[in-house]
């Protein structure tokens, strides 16, 4: 089962690299914000899987919760900050 979790983490890391292309090259600032949001969501699942790999789920679940909250808040703040006419 741990090999399965490790394989899932590697696949998710590959997806994060694919999304990083859109963050680096994506036209405009809003594509980048969405890319960071998507990468944060994937990182949340990778963190939960890491907890099962290291057998410290009780610690990693709290880190996951904080990461979800920070991802949400930072997305809202960035969306508010970059909202103006002709920002793209």
């Amino acid at each position: 089962m741990e090999d399965f979790f490790l394989a899932l983490s590697l696949i998710l890391g590959f997806f994060v690299l694919l999304c990083l292309y859109r963050v680096v090259r994506g036209p405009g600032v809003f594509n980048r914000i969405v890319g960071v949001n998507v990468i944060g969501t994937k990182t949340l699942v990778i963190l939960a899987l890491m907890g099962f790999l290291y057998k410290r789920v009780d610690m990693f679940v709290d880190i996951c919760l904080v990461y979800a909250l920070l991802n949400f808040i930072s997305t809202l703040a960035a969306a508010k900050y970059f909202q103006r006419k002709g920002a793209d």
Binding site: L12, C19, F30, N37, V38, T41, V45, F52, F82
Partner: protein, 110 residues
Amino acid sequence: MSVLSILFLLLGIFFFFGATIGFLRFPDFYSRMHATGKSDTLGTLLCLIGLALYNGFSLVSIKIVLIAVFIFVASPTATHAILRAAFDSDVTPWTKDGRVIREGGEDKSE
């Protein structure tokens, strides 16, 4: 229970795969949001529920389900906020024949 957990995790990875492909391949900002906003939420939910099923009934599972509920509420809200900010910042939607369509918002033509 382990088989059910593996099934949930693989379904979640499948939805993540769809979200990533849509995010890379779709032509403009709004269709990219359409791909990521829904598939990413569902993939996270399925993965977290699969992990909670694998862990069994304990305090950690309750916390994982709590994170899933929070993602279920917060992720569409964040998607909506970015979309509203982009629409108010005059990001033009993509059309097949290149026409400019803007319904709602402020009309700037006159």
